[in-house]
């Protein structure tokens, strides 16, 4: 669980900000340009995976724990569902776009599409990162004698 070499750590330190910034851009501008919640969320998860691989599990665990990943996953899914249900309550049918359309080609436009994109981004990012943690790290938790060199 001690991470990779110094070179990988330095490159990660340089690159991780841009990765997270670009994923935020992809999520927020999903209704104006190619992209959207799913892609941005997967990019968030890729940044998380890069941090875990370069710096080790313990460093990342001090910022985001496994339990909070599950929590963010549930939060994103529930936020999307609540958004659709609010449309049902206000507009009359499920997932009605209840907010005003706004001005075309501006950031605040498209009704609830940007908010739903943010919810999907959080949900997909948390669940992909959680899948990575589950597939690669959970099995190392007990017998670290033979496999600890991998992380």
């Amino acid at each position: 669980m001690k991470g990779m070499t110094l070179i990988v750590k330095q490159v990660t330190k340089l690159v991780i900000g841009f990765i997270l910034l670009y994923s935020a851009y992809i999520i927020l501008y999903g209704h104006l340009s190619p992209g959207g919640g799913f892609v941005g969320g997967v990019m968030l998860a890729c940044g998380f995976i890069l941090l875990v691989l370069a710096y080790g599990k313990d460093f990342v665990n001090s910022m985001i724990s496994d339990e909070s990943l599950k929590g963010w996953d549930c939060f994103g899914a529930l936020a999307f569902l609540v958004l659709a249900l609010i449309g049902y309550a206000l507009g009359g049918y499920f997932a009605e776009n209840f907010l005003s359309k706004g001005e075309n080609y501006h950031l605040i436009s498209g009704g609830f599409i940007p908010i739903a994109n943010i919810a999907i981004g959080i949900k997909v990012g948390a669940c992909m990162a959680g899948a990575f943690v589950g597939l690669t790290i959970f099995h190392l938790s007990k017998d670290t004698s033979s496999e600890s060199h991998m992380l």
Partner: protein, 180 residues
């Protein structure tokens, strides 16, 4: 169009290499090459959303495959080729390709879909939803119900991952002798 055929040929080559390669790492690299070519093809056909999704998900899946499968243990599989299985596979592929050929004869040309619902989306998408990206207009406004279903599918599968690969109960301790 010639470039498209060249790219498709390269993709088929990468897929064959992925199947026939001995080591798991070469297989994963060949799958990555095929996925990258697929994203380039999406980009050439005018689907940037799909191209971005393909690249990003491909990278994530490759990292997962390398970390979870390749680096864990050397599981190269050595099995003699079974002639009967190969013959059955070839006959099945032949039947599939023949039926696909005759099915595609009755379809419209490339870019002229059978359903005309998409025309409505393209004409009225901007004024009805306010989203300039029509993919998002369809995904989160016209077809938001479907998107909620897809989010539910991902949610359920991740719950399955957490349930199977959890820490608690995986290893033997007091009061838990069913697991290894």
């Amino acid at each position: 169009m010639v470039i498209l055929w060249i790219l498709i040929a390269f993709m088929i080559l990468a897929a064959i290499v992925a199947v026939e390669a001995k080591g798991l790492l070469s297989t994963v690299i060949s799958v990555g090459a095929a996925g990258l070519i697929l994203s380039v093809i999406f980009m050439m056909l005018g689907a940037p959303d799909l191209a971005i999704t393909q690249v990003v998900v491909e990278v994530l899946c490759l990292v997962l495959l390398i970390r979870a499968a390749v680096m864990r243990e050397d599981s190269t599989l050595e099995s003699p080729p079974n002639r009967f299985v190969i013959a059955i596979g070839l006959i099945g592929c032949g039947i599939l390709l023949t039926s696909v050929y005759f099915a595609f004869q009755s379809m419209n040309g490339f870019g002229q879909p059978l359903m005309h619902l998409a025309d409505q989306y393209l004409q009225n998408g901007l004024e009805k939803t306010g989203a300039a990206n029509y993919v998002m207009a369809v995904l989160l406004d016209f077809r938001a119900y479907d998107t909620i279903g897809e989010a539910t599918v991902i949610f359920g599968s991740i719950i399955g991952v957490y349930a199977i690969l959890r820490k608690i109960g995986k290893y033997k301790h007091e009061g838990n002798d069913l697991n290894r």
